[in-house]
Amino acid sequence: MSRNDSTDVVVIGSGFGGAIPAYRLAAGGARVEILERGPWLTGDDFDHDFKFGSSSTRAFEFTMGDGMNVLGGNCVGGGSVVYFAAMPRAPRYVFGRRGGIGERMWPRTIDRDALDPWYDMVAESLPITRQDWDDVTYSGGLFAAACSRAGRTANPVPAAIDRDRCTNCNWMMSGCRFDAKRSLLLNYLPAAVVHGARIRPLHEVQRITRTGDGYRVHYNTVDEVDYRVVTGSGTIDCKLVVVAAGAAATPVILQRSEEDLGAMPEAVGRYFSGNGERLNTAVVDEDKVRELLKLDRGDGRAYEAYQIGKGPVCASWDKLDGSLPEFSRYSLEQLYFPPGFGTILAQAPEAAGPTWFGTEKKEMLRRWQSWLTIFIMSEDDNEGVFGPPPETGNADRVSQQMLSRGALSYRPSADTRAAWKRADEDVRDILERDGLARVMPWNDEVIGAYTVHPLASCRIGDDPETSALDDTHELRGHPGIFVTDGSAVPGALTVNPAFTIAALAERAVPGIVAAAGRRGLPVRYVAEPPPSVSSSAWARTADR
């Protein structure tokens, strides 16, 4: 089964990078088709369930690489559906980063002041709210108290969460059952649908070719249960393409398109950053929590609350300091990671045998409710490089859902490893004082590094040698193709990047509108925020 359609704009991917341009272009009068590789899940589809085949595997993707493993969303709404909704702005110094290339990574036109109005726009649209100490979960509070005792500061992290609806169930990596998490299913995507945009789930884009006056986007449709099974294919002709398939997929689509479109910029599929991410897991001594930190849940327990909460709520930003040299700046964020992904690589402190499996690991797991996981977001050196694309998609699928093996390779530089080491030592300094906890970084030998925030594999910049996109996000040498997802972010941000990805996507829209105008499309720029809906099922119903 094959079909051929045409439209004005094809948007590849429905996460922050796709949903935002899709809404604004549709609202401005463009015909928009959104192609999303994953399923369209809403409210009741979001299971509290680890079973294979539940939303925890339907909506989530774990792409193994050589030295780097990427975790991300695979559903309508992309990362916004499975993320933890922590939304801090990138600190000012980030925009001046140079990294290993020795020159400014970011375009000179973009700094924090330039991006703040776009951050404001996203903050209003989702919305994002400042959190206070009453919102901070036990685990966040434990980390804050430990930071305070160690002479550090700690901040509740701004979040895109409706506190009145949130049940602190900590299932948010499987999608939010209660529509408390302000994913794109509650704002930009329904607004896009209202303006006539069409969302096509289970449509995996393979490549882009050229037509007389635009582009043709080629996709396969995939089975809703077994994503390895191709059920059909088709094409859509369009004037403009917005590529926002995520930093682990966008460069692969462009690489595969090279045969027809001609040479891609050198930086397509290079300079991948894992946002300098790394995890440490502490096992706390409950008596010391009570004795040293004076914490008590009021029911006889001091902590034992790892399972409770809403992902990361508290962070230490002491090292987000522009006066420090590059590779020594990072945030430390308390985090919850569910069993499975969140336990496999955790290492048993003081183990005489293997640290990540075996008898001592099992003993550590028995104390799971006393775990505290600390997420390091530091500065890596954009070491990731994509090899030749697989036959279809961005990776060879192993399982029906979730597990695949891709062509990304990553060898952390000495600077990156030094940054991780500094941050690891800092975590230990905060948490091991007076026996409060024992801490170990996650094993980085078994599968290499990992990231939940893939970035920079098709980045903006001023230098054509080291950036694939100009500062309007247009792909160099391929006018009319824009990249607006995490792959456009030039490098590690030292904080959670979703807010910055979204702000950059907002900032890119006027340029895309202008490009539409140059191609004779009567599209205007619409600045109004998307209306908010209270049910994630709303857009899917409206689309039908």
Binding site: H48, D49, F50, K51, F52, T57, P88, P91, R130, W133, D135, V136, T137, Y138, G141, A144, A145, C147, S148, T153, A154, N155, V157, T167, N168, C169, W171, R177, R228, L295, R297, D299, A305, Q307, I308, G309, W317, D318, S331, P338, P339, G340, T343, I344, G353, P354, F357, G358, T359, K362, L365, R366, W368, V398, S399, Q400, L403, R405, V446, V495
Partner: protein, 189 residues
């Protein structure tokens, strides 16, 4: 006797169980249990459904499991021969190894630089997940049925509707000084 698995013979099951038990060890299921070494108290990966998870259609590993089982046994025979261990006849070689040898062999197979680690690491991941997520069954059913891993971890059971809610989630007090450069919106400067 019913075969233990529709797609694996009993020897293959025993080998894969022995591997799973090496990753998250457990107590023996009975006096004649050869796959489970009994190296830890309480049920381990095997009692938590490791074979069900490995053979699940969703997992995608089922087709390669006979090859993996044969590979484990071959490595085990080689391991035993190099160290002068005698392996009991009639028992698959990996299961016939003692627990310490199984552990050391598994560590070797999954070590950086081992050309086969991409085969064994996923098998280990499935073994861990069997214990700490019970992903071969619905989590509510696993908890109701006394799933060894989830119970040992103290995973709190859901409410009556099968969903989790924690109305008490916060110490509800100021626990640290915020960064002095925090902006009005609560962001880093």
């Amino acid at each position: 006797m019913e075969p233990k698995s529709a797609i694996l013979d009993d020897r293959e099951v025993m080998t894969l169980e022995a591997f799973a038990d090496t990753i998250i060890p457990g107590e023996r299921r009975g006096p004649h249990d050869r796959a489970v070494a009994g190296a830890a108290a309480g049920g381990g990966a095997v009692a938590s459904g490791a074979i069900d998870l490995m053979t699940s259609e969703e997992g995608g590993l089922a087709g390669v499991l006979p090859t993996l089982a044969a590979g484990l046994d071959e490595h085990a025979r080689d391991w035993a021969a190099r160290r002068g261990r005698t392996l009991e006849d009639g028992v698959p070689a990996f299961a016939a190894l003692g627990f310490d040898d199984r552990t050391a062999l598994a560590a070797t197979l999954m070590a950086p630089g081992n050309p086969e680690r991409e085969l064994w690491v996923p098998l280990a991941m499935f073994s861990v997940m069997a214990w700490d997520t019970g992903a071969s069954q619905h989590t509510t059913d696993a908890l109701a049925g006394g799933h060894p891993g989830l119970i040992a971890m103290g995973f709190t059971p859901p409410g009556a509707d099968g969903l989790w809610r924690f109305p008490d989630f916060s110490y509800r007090k100021v626990l640290a000084t915020v960064h002095p450069h925090t902006t009005e919106s609560g962001d880093p400067a």
